[in-house]
């Protein structure tokens, strides 16, 4: 890979904690790599696999999902639903050939500006090691995207249902 590879990362941040945390990094004038593009959602629970797959389809080299710490969710427990969904999404991504370094789910509170910067820094470093994302499945990704997304949703929902029973 070329030395001057600069990964493109999509960050999907919840409005209440993580977006505010990223704002705090700004108001504190902390410097971190410019590789991340932030998109806001109201709650990390809103993040569905389609959004993540879309990012890779559009040429992202990594995707970062961030919400409030467990217990601090503005919507009580939306982030817990994110947490339950994460392993499944990660597994799905691995299955279609996307390295684990490219997907990260973290908690950043409104007061953790410094932490946010560090996470971005680390992620850029990690992705630089694995190199640019090349669509392993070529155009297939586009084709499977909707299918995969739908089945992932189903599986996630099933897991959530199960999760609420067994508490996993």
């Amino acid at each position: 890979m070329s030395d001057n590879f600069e990964p493109k990362i999509l960050g999907i941040l919840c409005n209440w904690c993580s977006y505010a945390g990223a704002d705090l990094a700004g108001t504190s004038r902390l410097k971190y790599p410019a590789n991340i593009r932030i998109v806001k959602v109201m709650c990390s629970g809103r993040v569905e696999p389609t959004l993540i797959l879309k990012a890779f389809q559009e040429g992202a080299d990594g995707v970062l999902i961030s919400g409030c710490h467990p217990g601090d969710c503005h919507y009580v427990d939306g982030n817990i639903k994110t947490l339950r969904r994460t392993p499944l999404v990660a597994r799905l991504l691995t299955q279609i050939g996307i390295e684990p370094e490219r997907f990260k789910q973290v908690w950043v509170s409104a007061s953790e500006g410094e932490k946010f910067g560090k996470i971005v820094e680390q992620m850029v470093e990690d992705i630089k090691k694995v190199g640019p994302y090349q669509k392993k499945m070529g155009d297939q990704l586009d084709v499977v995207m909707h299918e995969v997304a739908a089945s992932a949703k189903e599986a996630a929902a099933a897991e959530e249902k199960g999760g609420s029973n067994c508490g996993s």
């Binding site: 990223a22 108001t27 998109v39 809103r46 569905e48 639903k81 409104a110 910067g117 949703k153 929902a157």
Partner: protein, 650 residues
């Protein structure tokens, strides 16, 4: 796709953005996109001329979508929404690109910053095309207020709302109101006696027809939203019938645990009974039975001397906790602070040497109604001939709290004055920096200097006991010398810390805390009273350490916020909510399980899920989980988010 007329406005924010991001270049590039009919950059977009420019363009050029690349939408999105509305355009046809907090302030390289800014603006342009006009919902406001915490700032807030003629529920965890200020003796810089200025306010609270006071109580649940909260409060039993108790204290004198339990109000400097009056000026002036120490309540073994002594027959051991539910329009949090436990810094000998005390203990000692009747005494009952005051114990210290506790320099100077006044001992103040910044404060410092107090610039490093005498070890940094100064008494002026239950309270109310653990304000300078949750306000030391004047001011400010909501009678709430396309819904009920607010129900007839939009908070978790894609979240629908992702990654 329909043709839109989009206006893009790139703000320089003085040099805040333009110093790093090449705004002109971003504007030029974005102007090349077909549907962008106006692209402009300007020094201050949020200024009046900036807003006017946008309004004029909307009117004159017929813009139907607006993108503003500027600071965080958390800062000025409402401002620009109003500008759009002023020009007759729906406020939600706006999208902001955050090129200040997320770009110019966090990026070193100017080229990279410009590139990043451009991609964020592109994402916003793609997204805004798919925006739909939505109307903010207006809901009526419940004209009551809940104040949590009965210290000076909570009292101030409660009285002010009550005086305006509105109902207040004042909830206090302890058995009395007054908070820490009730323990103080004199207050700086005027040396008013704390009781003299606080007691009348406490009495007013007790007598106000608009204030319902609940002591020994805590909030256990908060539901709802601004204007319409439902708060659940648990009131613990006091085992005293308030209607009958006269506050005479006969039960306390009779209690067989008399003089055996360290008295919290006196910071452990005196002993109390298990049945007791918290302090002579307590509001409410009613006895309390301490269930952790009462022999009858803990072991069922007691002669019940208190019951016999009580002429009013007010003691009732069958009391149970009571649950109350209040509907309120807003909540004022005034839960105060905890004092840093000096035992966490063993080098100062607190808890090991009898004559090492903390600031609150000194307050109790100098208080005429305190354990020593206002005499400053050593453990052996004699008066000290020399006293050291150590500043910044637990403050300004990475090992404990990084922040400055703000009140200690002044209270330390006050302690010095009180020592001089009471027993004319030599006083040594060990300080790092003197911070006496308030009205009349520097003058007070100056006055105490003239009283002959020794100010040693150097943080006390250690308190040792040498030959039976306390010795403060420090560097006198102005002399550049190591010094050991023997004294009879050491006062540790300890940090003000977030209350031990701050995390729990934050979770119950759904608000954030800042890195130091205190509750977080919406904007540290411009909105220090509002939390990030609409309708919940902050007052006093629960937001950050404060002295009395500042706590009172913030209490008033919080009351004003609460009254403002009541005065308008209605609040706008976010129009962002989910809806279900019943055509697409498969009736699988997954969303029902996902919704924390129980806003989704299955229509038993159609077997399709339906959302109650009034209850929905718009988090979108249901949409993310719907297998058939039937759920749509307004302003955060799939198409909008996908378009934005496409744009920012282009």
């Amino acid at each position: 796709m329909s043709d839109h007329k989009i206006g893009v406005y790139v703000c320089h924010c003085g040099s805040n953005i333009n110093g790093v991001v090449n705004c002109a270049k971003v504007t030029e590039e974005i102007g090349k996109i077909g549907e962008v009919v106006v692209a402009k950059d300007y020094k201050y977009m949020c200024s009046d001329p900036g807003q006017e420019m946008i309004k004029n363009d909307i009117k004159e050029k017929g813009l139907d979508r607006v993108v503003i690349a500027a600071c965080s939408p958390r800062m000025h999105e409402p401002t620009f929404r109003r500008a759009l509305e002023g020009a007759g355009l729906n406020g939600y046809l706006l999208e902001m690109a955050n090129i200040r907090e997320h770009v110019s302030w966090v990026t070193k390289d100017k080229e990279e910053a410009t590139k990043k800014a451009l991609s964020l603006v592109k994402g916003a342009v793609k997204r805004v095309k798919l925006h739909e006009p939505i109307e903010e919902r207006e809901v009526p406001v419940t004209n009551t207020t809940l104040v949590l915490g009965g210290g000076i700032s909570g009292i101030q807030a409660a009285l002010q709302v009550a005086e305006a003629g509105h109902k207040v529920y004042l909830i206090e965890q302890k058995q009395y109101i007054g908070g820490n200020m009730a323990k103080f003796d004199k207050t700086f810089p005027t040396l008013d006696c704390a009781a003299c200025i606080l007691t009348p306010k406490m009495v007013d609270v007790g007598q106000s027809p608009n204030i319902e006071l609940y002591t020994s109580s805590e909030v256990i649940k908060v539901d709802g939203y601004v204007g319409n909260f439902t708060v659940t409060v648990r009131e613990k039993p006091r085992y005293i019938n308030h209607d009958k108790c006269t506050g005479c204290g006969d039960c306390a004198s009779a209690c067989i645990m008399k003089n055996r339990i360290p008295h919290e109000f006196d910071e452990g400097l005196s002993k109390r009974s298990a049945a007791y009056i918290p302090f002579p000026q307590a509001v409410p002036l009613k006895a309390v039975i301490d269930d952790g120490n009462c022999l009858f309540l803990t072991r069922k073994k007691c002669t019940l001397a208190c019951v016999k002594a009580c002429g009013a027959k007010a003691i009732n051991f069958n009391q149970h906790e009571t649950i109350h539910e209040f509907k309120v329009g807003s909540i004022i949090l005034a839960t105060g602070f905890d004092l840093f436990d000096a035992k966490r810094a063993p080098q100062y000998g607190y808890g090991r040497y009898a004559n090492v005390i903390n600031g609150l203990q000194f307050e109790r000692m100098t208080n005429a109604s305190g354990p020593t009747s206002g005499h400053i005494t050593l453990a052996d009952g004699t008066e000290p001939k020399s006293v050291a005051v150590i500043h910044c114990v637990g403050s300004r210290d990475e090992n404990y709290n990084k922040y400055c506790s703000r009140v200690c320099c002044m209270s330390s100077v006050k302690f010095a004055h009180l020592v001089k006044d009471h027993c004319d001992a030599e006083v040594y103040e060990f300080y790092i920096d003197m911070r006496t910044f308030g009205k009349g404060y520097e003058e007070f410092y100056n006055r105490v200097q003239e009283e002959g107090v020794h100010f040693v610039r150097g943080k006390g490093a250690e308190v040792a006991q040498i030959d039976g005498r306390l010795v403060v070890i420090a560097e006198d940094t102005l002399l550049g010398q190591y010094r050991e100064i023997p004294v009879d008494m050491v006062i540790l002026n300890t940090a003000l810390e977030p209350r031990v239950d701050a995390e729990k309270v934050a979770q119950t109310l759904g608000i954030s805390r800042s890195g130091d653990g205190f509750f977080m304000e919406s904007h540290i300078k411009l909105d220090p009273v509002t939390t990030t949750t609409d309708g919940i306000y902050l007052a006093g030391c629960c937001q950050s350490p404060k002295d009395i004047p500042d706590s009172v001011a913030q209490g008033s400010a919080a009351a004003a916020q609460s009254l403002a909501i009541i005065a308008t009678g209605k609040v706008k709430i976010s129009p962002i909510s989910a809806s279900i396309d019943s055509e697409q819904c498969a009736g699988c009920r997954i969303c029902i399980g996902l919704c924390t607010y129980r806003a989704i129900k299955l229509n038993e007839e159609t077997l399709r899920a339906e959302i109650n939009e009034a209850v929905c908070k718009g988090c979108g978790t249901c949409a993310a989980g719907c297998p058939s894609g039937a759920i749509r979240v307004s302003h955060f629908n799939d198409d909008q988010l996908l378009a934005q992702i496409e744009g920012v990654l282009a």
